[in-house]
């Protein structure tokens, strides 16, 4: 599979974009020329210069450095959330589909109830209830999306469960846990990987949307959505304040989408 990924131009491009952002996030302190939260009142809205490569914002903070540090928030929120989502949804979805019967039916009804709220709405109300904070927005994101992921996992497991090799494993006396862990999950993993990697872009967009609304992330934090939100007041005079963070979000989300879709072409080529 790795070989196929390296052969696919789109996958390589997406992967490179993701790696660039990951590199920036990890080495942010070395790339940024200034401290992202350092205020320089004498240098408000400064033009691009050697000291401030992209100029400064309304408080005289270095835009370039803030954008660099923004990568940390973007990936630092989306990646852990996705990881927790993956664990929760694989556990619940697999168990529900494998046990089946009444248990599965109850699980489906619970899913239906959760799914009658658009995820955005669940996050909105949970952030409203739990209060601001990056941790709370992560909890809210997991809580709002797990059913959607679990339901996909469940449908994959249901398909896989009926296949001959599972029945063969059962006849051979394999324990249920062994069948789930060693047979079902490894076989559905490629399809899940595709689903998760396209999901991550959507999640990043959602989280930056929240900080744009002023929910979740404290003011002043160099998160791209929050930067857009504070730049909103200068729409006429300084449209660049809005354009830079948006390009960063677009670039990162596009990286994940390109990679995820190329992955889908590789995993299930008949759907192209």
């Amino acid at each position: 599979m790795v070989k196929k990924i390296l052969k696919n131009k789109q996958a390589v491009l997406g992967l490179l974009m993701i790696l660039v952002i990951a590199f920036i996030a990890i080495f942010a302190p070395f790339i940024a020329v200034n401290h992202p939260e350092e205020i320089d009142p004498a240098e408000k809205f400064a033009e691009a210069s050697l000291k401030y490569p992209l100029g400064t914002d309304q408080l005289g903070r270095c835009i370039f450095s803030r954008l660099i540090y923004g990568a940390r928030y973007s990936l630092g929120i989306a990646v852990p959330v996705l990881f927790i989502l993956a664990v929760v949804s694989i556990l619940t979805g697999t168990i529900s589909a494998y046990i089946g019967g009444g248990f599965d039916r109850v699980f489906t009804v619970i899913c239906d109830i959760f799914m009658s709220f658009p995820p955005l709405l669940v996050v909105l109300s949970l952030v409203g209830a739990l209060g601001q904070g990056i941790f709370n927005i992560m909890v809210a994101a997991v809580f709002s999306m797990w059913v959607w992921f679990a339901k996909v996992v469940r449908s994959y497991v249901l398909l896989e469960k009926k296949k001959g090799y599972i029945i063969a494993a059962k006849i051979a006396g394999c324990s249920d846990i062994k069948i789930i862990a060693l047979h079902i999950i490894p076989n559905i993993l490629p399809s899940l990987l595709v689903y998760f990697s396209t999901g991550i872009a959507g999640m990043m967009l959602m989280i930056s949307g929240f900080s744009f609304l002023g929910l979740g992330i404290e003011a002043g934090v160099p998160e791209w959505g929050a930067m857009l939100s504070s730049g909103k007041a200068y729409l006429y005079s300084r449209p660049l304040l809005l354009i830079y963070p948006g390009i960063c979000i677009l670039f990162t989300a596009a990286g994940f989408n390109l990679f995820g879709e190329a992955l889908r072409d590789i995993v299930s080529p008949e759907e192209v």
Partner: protein, 313 residues
């Protein structure tokens, strides 16, 4: 068909009961005391007695399940309580805000349909052509673009650089164009991909070969036979989009200062206005559930055969 619909409606009632419970739980798990928040907003320095008085007046001293049943009784009578923020009945506030949101969502749906159908057919028919590749790149950007940013870009481009529209404008049909496009572009991008893939899949099927063998023109096969068979997944997804658009309107409404239900909900959340939050959640969830049902009914009307295949899932 009727049996199927009544089955679905029974399921719907269970889901709706769950929705009311969940909406109620969501708005109640909070460290903030709504009675205190209300008192602080309306009285300069509220004494503990005054806060208790307000708590009793609003029924917040009752056990949670009693509060839920009181609220539910009200809901069944069409009463959603009184907003703590505007002091109007929640029903009145919502009735005022919903049309604003629905008008954006309605126009956005129109854009989505007229953009998606022709473009996906063209790109599926000319698979791997220049047009197809370009469209793929454009739609990749479309699904990766943050919609609030897209809104600003449209504002900067069409209200500031080329002053065709005004930045803050509410009421006219023209004022709907930019917000609805902002919602429609990302949605259209993902639906183009889905419809293109579905059309391509259907074009491989036997009925297309048969139609070709009968000498039916290629255009007719695509537009009548293939398109009709590709619609069901589109309808399902589209009806889901309608729910997303209403919930997602919060963000677009913030960009365009649009007085709809989304921005109403956000301000209610910031102000801890419980009755309004409950009301908004309930209304949006009901609309969402309703559109999902509509999708199933439409699909079963278009293609009754699907019932036997997917009816009981």
């Amino acid at each position: 068909m009727l049996g199927y619909i009544s089955n679905r409606i029974m399921g719907l009632i269970i889901v709706l009961i769950g929705v009311t419970v969940l909406a109620f739980i969501f708005s109640n798990i909070s460290s903030v005391d709504p009675a205190e928040a209300f008192a602080r907003r309306n009285i300069l320095n509220p004494t503990p007695e005054q806060i208790e008085e307000i708590r009793e007046e609003m029924g917040l001293n009752l056990p949670v399940y009693r509060q839920y049943f009181n609220w539910l009784q009200g809901v069944l009578r069409g009463e959603l309580g009184t907003s703590l923020l505007t002091r109007n009945p929640v029903r009145v506030d919502l009735a005022e805000k919903i049309p604003a949101t629905l008008s954006i969502v309605g126009l956005a749906s129109f854009w989505i349909i007229i953009i998606t159908v022709p473009l996906s057919v063209l790109s599926a028919v000319n698979k791997d052509s220049f047009f197809d590749h370009t469209l793929r790149i454009v739609t990749t950007f479309g699904i990766s673009i943050p919609n609030f940013w897209l809104g600003f870009i449209l504002l900067v481009a069409f209200a500031i650089m080329l002053p065709i529209f005004s930045v803050v404008d509410y009421g006219s049909l023209k004022s709907l164009i930019l917000p609805s496009l902002t919602i429609a572009i990302p949605m259209a991008s993902s639906s183009i991909r889905l419809l293109r893939a579905t059309i391509l899949e259907n074009m491989k099927k036997d009925f297309v070969t048969y139609a070709k063998a009968r000498g039916i023109s290629k255009n007719k096969i695509i537009w009548q036979h293939v398109l009709k068979n590709s619609l069901p997944p589109m309808i399902t997804v589209f009806c889901q989009y309608l729910g997303y658009m209403i919930a997602g309107s919060a963000i677009v409404e913030a960009v365009f200062s649009w007085p709809g239900i989304g921005s109403h909900l956000v301000s209610a959340i910031i102000a801890r206005d419980l009755p309004t939050i409950n009301g908004c959640l309930l209304i949006i969830a009901v609309i969402f559930v309703f559109f999902n049902l509509l999708a199933d009914i439409l699909n079963s009307a278009i293609n009754p055969k699907m019932l036997s295949e997917a009816g009981e899932v």
